[in-house]
Amino acid sequence: MTIVATSRLWPFVIVESRLIVTPDFLARRGGSDPRIRRLLVNAARVDQARGTALHRRVLTVPGEGAYALAYRYVPVPGGARDEATRVMHMAEGVVCDDLDAELTDETLNRTRGYLLGPVRRYVDQGWSGPPLSSRAVLAGESVEPTPWSLGRLAAVVVLAAAGLTVLLLALKRVLGP
């Protein structure tokens, strides 16, 4: 089963047991219900023996239904450490309204851009106040501006030109003056 382009994905992230980014519909519902505010932190159990592999579960939101949940426990970017000098980790993932969606590391890589800023802020200055709300992303929608950034494009052009020159020089030598 692959992911349907119209499935909706909400990124979330938990660092050191603190929910930093949460799906907007959970934030709304959680406003009046502490159980819902705790839902994601409690659902995203981490099996330490599985390293950074993807965890998949079903998230049941009372009064709302079931969602697919995929997340992984990975180092926070920037190499921060906790008070025991361990590499600080975060549970980053997505909640998806399509239970059959095939959620992979690729899916999480796509939504990661949303989470890095808030994570950085938590690591640098701590966090006060409620978590940020993430809006739904359509699975078919491109999250990063373009797959080929200008820098990478330029690098490819330069490399191709250099390769061609080398080839021409070699040919010239073989064929003689």
Binding site: S17, P34, R37, V46, Q48, A49
Partner: protein, 421 residues
């Protein structure tokens, strides 16, 4: 599953070393070594998980130690197992709860939890439930924090007293109606970082650390309370999962792996080993206190209770099941004016075993001091001969007593407060 299960509540802040300790404990005791009379067993999935955590921690090819535990509770259950040609015997099971250390203090601003959220959080509830029904306490002191405190880190001034009194408060709250204070093992983690290290020109020793702990005002009061009520003793036990394989990088302040140095676990088994002996002695002491100083009365009372329980057990046909549990509960409540919570610990012990085992323990300890090696060999021979559950528990207990005697001889300062005998 064995008839007797001891549930241990591990207290330890985030990063104190709980997860690696439990993984290391299982690793060390799940393979038989010289002198061991039993091995620890657990379910297949849990076995694989614990092995993985341990392997990652001591793998020199992986630069980092395993990450912190997520917000969750995770019970690990270990069965003591003796296997020989007569069969397989599981005289004792011990359960530990692992969790993320920040759960001990959910009001910490870093978590940003509201009162309502603390109230409804299911993992916090699980932790409280476990804590309030524990048969013994393992209070872990983070060796790295202790070292930094000893060196005068300003942010850690007052930390030890504060941390200890928070946890002792929880234990004292439980006192009402439980019939006393269960065994308490103060485990100092990361001992490899502390042992013999010079601080202010003086080497760190177990005696010094135990003295420091005992002098903290709240702890001193707790020890007094235990002594007055003839409660279980307190032990201070230094442990290390890694030994010299881990080291403190003084420049970065980080704990690093040092490939090439050996992994040498230290004393990981001692808190486990002390569980049953400390529980039995404590129970016996309470019975003695119940009946007053007249020795004769004690004997009679014990015999009566033992006969009664034996009779009831024979009737029920098993030490398990709800009826047997009710009986034990009844017996325990009678004994202590206590709550049903204590019944699990004393299920197999309250009556017929208690007296007998207490005597075994005392005798074994004095003998072991004399000739350790011979006794270990004798235990190996007897392991082959074990043919019943009760022989199995007696042998396990003798094994514990030998190991404890050995530890106590090397660490004379490890018992705090009044020593029960």
């Amino acid at each position: 599953m064995s008839a007797t299960t001891l549930r241990v509540m591990v207290f330890g802040e985030r990063g104190a070393g709980k997860t690696l300790y439990l993984a290391g404990l299982f690793r060390g005791m799940s393979v038989s070594g010289p002198g061991s009379v039993f091995t620890l067993q657990t379910g297949e999935v849990d076995r694989l998980k614990l092995n993985r955590i341990y392997a990652d921690a001591v793998n020199p090819l992986l630069k980092n130690f395993p990450p912190s535990t997520h917000w969750q509770t995770e019970p690990w259950r270990f069965d003591c197992q003796i296997t020989n040609r007569h069969g397989t015997f599981r005289p004792l099971s011990v359960e530990y709860l692992d969790y993320s250390g920040e759960m001990l203090d959910p009001l910490d601003a870093r978590l940003g939890m509201t009162d309502e959220e603390i109230e409804v959080d299911p993992e916090l509830r699980a932790l409280r439930g476990y804590r309030d029904h524990a048969d013994a306490y393992l209070l872990m002191i983070d060796g790295l924090k202790l070292l930094r405190m000893l060196r005068g880190a300003p942010e850690l001034a007052g930390w030890l007293e504060h941390y200890l009194s928070d946890q002792l408060q929880v234990m004292e709250q439980r006192l009402t109606g439980t019939g006393g204070r269960p065994p308490l093992h103060v485990v100092v983690s990361k001992w490899d970082l502390l042992d013999g290290r010079m601080v202010d020109g003086v080497p760190v020793t177990l005696g010094a650390v135990a003295g420091l702990v005992a002098r903290q005002p709240t702890f001193a009061a707790h020890l007094d309370g235990r002594a007055q009520d003839r409660d279980a003793p307190v032990r201070v036990i230094p442990v290390s999962v890694t030994g010299p394989f881990a080291a403190l990088d003084e420049e970065t302040g980080e704990i690093v792996k040092v490939p090439g140095r050996p992994v040498q676990p230290y004393n990981l088994d001692v808190p486990f080993t002390a569980l049953l002996p400390d529980t039995i002695r404590w129970r016996r002491e309470q019975l003695l206190a119940d009946t007053g100083p007249s020795g004769e009365g004690v004997e009679r009372k014990l015999n009566r209770r033992a006969a009664l329980l034996a009779h009831a057990r024979a009737f029920v046909g098993s030490a398990r099941g709800p009826l047997a549990e009710r009986l034990d509960r009844w017996a325990t409540r009678r004994q202590n004016g206590g709550s049903p919570a204590m019944s699990i610990a004393t299920a197999g012990l309250a009556g017929e075993l208690l007296h007998q085992l207490g005597a075994v323990l005392d005798e074994q300890e004095s003998r072991s001091r004399a000739r350790l090696r011979e006794i270990q060999e004798e235990h190996q021979r007897r392991r082959q001969a074990v043919a019943t559950e009760s022989e199995a528990i007696t042998l396990a207990l003798q094994g514990f007593a030998v190991r404890l005697a050995e530890f106590e001889e090397k660490n004379p300062g490890s018992l705090l407060g009044e020593v029960l005998s």
